[in-house]
């Protein structure tokens, strides 16, 4: 127990980040219209692609003669990049779809008005 408290004390900054981020995540999302549920999920999906940074660090620290570490790290970098790039591109396409549809309805409203 004492060592756990000591660990918490040594990593106080991280504990603060965790607690505040939890509240922030809840607060930022809480009033979202239901049409945006899927794009928001997709955007959040792209953001957790930040795990790629861990993959880059792992890859960059693997010793050049350790093929197991090199291959696993290489795979991790590839799938991590897929997550980041694919995630942001898909979200962009989704939101683009929204915009065009909205413009059309605006035009129709203008015509009707």
């Amino acid at each position: 127990m004492g060592s756990l408290l000591q660990f918490l004390h040594d990593h106080l900054e991280m504990a603060y980040i965790v607690v505040l981020s939890v509240f922030l995540g809840v607060e930022v999302i809480s009033r979202v219209p239901s049409v945006l549920h899927t794009p928001l999920m997709s955007g959040a999906n792209a953001i957790h692609g930040v795990v790629i940074i861990g993959a880059i660090i792992v890859m960059g620290q693997a010793s050049p003669d350790n093929y197991f570490a090199l291959i696993i790290g290489f795979l991790a970098v590839i799938v991590g990049t897929l997550n980041v790039v694919g995630g942001f591109v898909v979200t962009d396409r989704m939101l683009d779809m929204f915009r065009t549809r909205k413009k059309k309805t605006d035009l129709q409203e203008n015509r009707n008005g």
Binding site: M14, I17, V18, S21, V22, L24, G25, V26, I29, R31, V32, V35, L36, H37, T38, L40, M41, S42, G43, A44, N45, A46, I47, H48, G49, V50, V51, I53, G54, A55, I56, I57, M59, G60, Q61, A62, A69, L70, I72, G73, F74, A76, V77, I78, V79, G80, T81, L82, N83, V84, V85, G86, G87, V89, V90, D92, M94, L95, M97, F98
Partner: protein, 297 residues
């Protein structure tokens, strides 16, 4: 100097994630929000590649591998995301979410290999960490492994269900089986943490295998119409797995991004259930209710 710039990169990254997420939740700013978050991610990634160094000042190497990985992943990701039909977008979200989970799991595999590869193990480990810190280090590795693996295999099944390739698979006592698999996985993880005899690659591999199986079992009984909620749950899980990486490397941007997605994903899941007028428990465990009502009808 380099490290100070890197910290600044991470700060910018964290702030863009928060701002991006906020903008994504308003229809008018949503698209710009996505771009803001993407820009922040780019800064954090480029900063890591060129400026990262460990405590003793060694920089990253294997640049050839890193860049070829980034290019291959980038090309495949862009092509997949651009070519896919509009109706198949949720499948892509599921696929990319699974990839993030797999990435977290692979990082854990590599870190564990790094721990056990050093020989003789305990001597080096003791030099690196003082007792309890080693325990916490392995705990975080295991958490990333289990959560990431569940997220990966679950997302793949969800993808198959959205594509209509995988049907619903239910049988009596399914929840009992699922929970037993999860409990065995966690018991093995506790064993690996506390027993020296369990501290090897085989047990680690078995834990990963069982977590992958649990991910499959968890999604199998849920119907295709509920998949968006399931993907949101798994999305939240991958966020937490990414945050484990943040603990592992003392990396603030991974921690902020991961926890932010974890909590936002959890709230989003609840909101999605509300929009569908159902409870989360009903969606995730309600398969028996579905079977019963099916039989009654």
């Amino acid at each position: 100097m380099g490290l100070a710039v890197l910290s600044l990169c991470y700060l910018i990254g964290s702030v863009t994630f928060i701002v991006g997420l906020k903008m994504l939740s308003h229809p008018r700013t949503a698209r710009r929000g996505n771009l803001v978050a993407a820009a922040g991610m780019g800064i954090a990634i480029v900063g890591t590649i060129f400026l990262y160094q460990t405590e003793d000042g060694t920089r990253l190497h294997n640049y050839g591998w890193i860049f070829s990985g980034l290019i291959i992943g980038g090309i495949i990701g862009t092509v997949l995301a651009r070519k896919v039909k509009m109706t198949a977008m949720p499948e892509m979200v599921s696929l990319f979410n699974g990839m993030g989970g797999l990435c977290a799991a692979l990082i854990s595999v590599n870190e564990f290999e790094h721990l056990t590869h050093a020989d003789p193990l305990l001597f080096v480990a003791a030099a690196l960490f003082s007792g309890q810190n080693l325990l916490l280090h392995v705990f975080i590795i295991l958490a990333g492994l289990v959560i990431g693996s569940i997220s990966f295999s679950g997302s793949m099944i969800a993808l198959g269900k959205l594509a209509g390739k995988i049907g619903v698979w239910r049988f009596q006592g399914q929840q009992v089986l699922n929970i037993s698999v999860l409990v065995i996985t966690l018991l093995l993880a506790v064993g690996l943490l506390t027993q020296d005899a369990f501290f090897n690659g085989w047990v680690f591999g078995l834990i990963m295998l069982l977590a992958l199986v649990y991910g499959i079992l968890f999604v199998m009984p849920i119907g295709g119409a509920d998949m968006p909620v399931v993907i949101s749950v798994l999305n939240s899980c991958t966020g937490i797995a990414a945050a484990c990486g943040g603990f592992l490397y003392d990396n603030q941007v991974m921690l902020t991004g991961g926890i932010l997605v974890g909590s936002a994903g959890a709230i989003l899941t609840v909101l999605m259930c509300k929009a569908m007028n159902r409870s989360l428990k009903n969606v995730l465990l309600g398969s028996f209710g579905g079977v019963k009502s099916g039989q009654a009808a």
